[in-house]
């Protein structure tokens, strides 16, 4: 079969389209994420009152700097919805903590949302979400 340049381009773009769809994984982890939030907060908290500082694009998913802050919080739960297991860390703030702020470095398997849920002193919960694009994933592979 002879292929013209036009056929070739059409074929290539079709392949690319299939490829893109193929890469998008089934979002099974949304359930795990909601389960984790429920376990911590006993429901879906309102957003606001929590801030997440993270790069928009992380080149290396093995170590992504993340900082969370929630004035008046006693605990902050950090989750990542695209990892095999959404749990990342739970920070607890004692009396001597000057601010309810903590920074760490985390692993992200792929582009996904980082979620922070804060437990406030008055027993209410607040939440924030931030997307981080990951160029090279950080889970073994």
């Amino acid at each position: 079969m002879e292929m013209t340049r036009r056929d070739m381009l059409a074929f290539a773009s079709a392949l690319a389209a299939v490829g893109l769809i193929g890469i998008k994984p089934a979002e099974a982890s949304t359930e795990l994420l909601e389960e984790a939030i429920n376990k911590f907060a006993g429901g879906m908290p309102e957003s606001g009152g929590v801030s997440i500082t993270a790069p928009e694009i992380a080149e290396n998913g093995n170590t992504v700097p993340v900082e969370v802050e929630a004035p008046g919080a006693t605990d902050i739960l950090i989750l990542a919805d695209g990892n095999p297991n959404p749990d990342v860390a739970t920070m607890h703030f004692g009396k001597l903590a000057a601010e309810q702020r903590g920074a760490t470095r985390i692993r992200l398997a792929k582009t996904q949302n980082v979620v922070a849920v804060a437990k406030m002193q008055d027993g209410t919960y607040r939440m924030a979400k931030r997307e981080v694009k990951v160029t090279i994933g950080g889970c073994g592979g």
Binding site: T63, D87, V88, H92, F93, A98, R101, G102, T104, R105
Partner: protein, 109 residues
């Protein structure tokens, strides 16, 4: 295995009531339990630091429950109001039960 070595950065001096930032890092592979051995194809068992605690003279400042999604050589940064002179105590708990500890004195006058 590489030796586990905690490193902590605390200012040497501060006035009582000052807010200081403390940075901590411990060298540890944080084996997630998700990786496979390339030769045998078997899962490498999980071995991580699962808890970090920072205290001042026994009083809580900051602590973290850690899941495998925290990077190798776990790093934490947080802030403290210095109550006065004394000693900061830091501890990390490994999955195998070992506890790594380090202390830092601060002069506050």
């Amino acid at each position: 295995m590489a030796k586990v070595k905690p490193r902590v950065k605390v200012p040497r001096k501060a006035a009582p009531g000052d807010v200081i930032t403390i940075k901590t890092l411990i060298s540890h592979p944080m084996e997630s339990g998700q990786r496979k051995d390339k030769k045998t194809g078997e899962l490498i068992p999980r071995k991580i630091i699962n808890r970090f605690d920072a205290k001042f003279e026994g009083e809580d400042i900051f602590s973290v429950d850690i899941a495998p999604a925290v990077s190798a050589n776990p790093y934490f940064e947080f802030s403290v109001t210095v109550p006065g002179p004394g000693e900061f105590q830091f501890s990390w708990v490994d999955d195998d039960g070992s506890v790594y500890e380090t202390k830092k004195k601060i002069k506050a006058a």
